[in-house]
Symmetry: C2
Subunit: 209 residues, 2 copies
DNA sequence: CGCATAGTTGACTACGCTCAACCCTGGTGG
DNA sequence: CCACCAGGGTTGAGCGTAGTCAACTATGCG
């Protein structure tokens, strides 16, 4: 993972970049904060949070190592949403002006950043696609298929999924309550689409709709 | 609108860029097509479409002038989703390799593209935020507030919204059926939050939650 | 003057949310 | 070592509301 790795940075930019550590539940930036920097996650996990009427937090998505945060800083005065650490994390802080200057001077930086932004769009669109599916078990199944780890063999009719974070977060991310997620998994298990062992999930018949 | 306008392009890239016209319901690219180009919309309106189980199209979002399409081409072999014109449109086609080469040579291009990508993320995240609201009338209200045209006076307690496209598309974009959207608008009107005249909507009490 | 399409309204169904109780695990402290 | 507690996950019961299917109207177009 050497996206805009500190080593490959030109001197002028490197001196402006700082490394910041975050504890669980610590805010990296909050909604409406002045947008001064763009962030790149080195390790840990952050949640993108948007303020919602009724004091309920809306978790749009979570970002892991290599993810970009606060890209709104590049063109907006303030952040639209916020980011809060859900695991001990380390992020690189790129001051807006220094970054823009460096982009002009070093073209490969631009390409890297462009790629990172493009990659950030995918899961967002994917999540929206998920929400279009109303039946809980189908949505969950599609979600599982998407995050399945190591499809080892493409032809394999079975795949493994491990949850690295609490169910409630996953439920929130795909737009369900934990109860509904639990019931959906139960149904999938009954129908033989998956089997659960501890915190692992094996999904079968990957090709079947 | 001169994002990567043809005039300001360096010669080497300009000669590779072509202008393509699309009729209504014509595909710009389809899901799983080979991802060879990135597109920028000059005029018209395109819908981002993702294939869903059950032959139902999932409309993630629509893009207008200045929007980027097919950014997946920058790092993926094939497009994840597709794009189809919902109005007569004109798009600029940037071949992948030529674009990348030009980005290295001309830093300002990079900055422009970075900005465009960053701007594309916002509505996606915003839409996800919308979906978190389950009550139809509240979601619709929030949507109306977001797309209100010309807030003329910030202090104004009333704003105007015009729909430039069929209700069914709007309903799909915010994750409802046309019937539900219709009923939601009706309820909002009953509650005095909006008033409807033909295809215009006036929303009141903008500050009230 | 039909025909197709969009929007509205109605009645019914279904399914996800809410609230609640319960189980289970891990951590803490006596 | 056990008692207690807190939190996450699982069930259960009942409700509310968005989806579905259908009929009807209005509008635009051939």
């Amino acid at each position: 993972m050497n996206f805009l790795s500190i080593d490959s940075l030109p001197d002028d930019l490197r001196h402006q970049v700082i490394r910041r550590k975050l504890a669980v539940d610590q805010w990296l930036f909050r909604p409406r904060d002045l947008a001064r920097s763009l962030f790149i996650i080195e390790s840990g996990r952050l949640q993108l949070v948007r303020p919602t009427l009724g004091s309920k937090r809306s978790v749009s998505q979570s970002a892991g190592p290599g993810g970009v945060l606060g890209e709104a800083a590049l063109f907006a005065e303030r952040y639209g949403g916020g980011a809060i650490a859900k695991a001990p994390s380390v992020v690189w802080v790129y001051p807006k002006e220094a970054l823009i200057k460096a982009l002009h001077a070093h073209a490969d930086l631009s390409e890297t950043l462009i790629g990172m932004l493009a990659r950030k769009i995918q899961p967002l669109a994917g999540n929206l696609e998920l929400r279009q599916i109303k039946a809980s078990h189908q949505r969950v199944l599609k979600y599982l298929r998407r995050i399945e780890t190591a499809p080892e063999d493409e032809r394999q009719e079975t795949a493994l999924v491990q949850f690295d974070r609490p169910f409630k977060e996953i439920a929130a991310e795909i737009g369900f309550t934990p109860e509904t997620l639990s019931r959906a998994l139960l149904k999938l298990e009954r129908d033989g689409r998956i089997t659960r062992t501890n915190d692992e999930i094996i999904l079968h018949n990957r090709s079947v709709a």
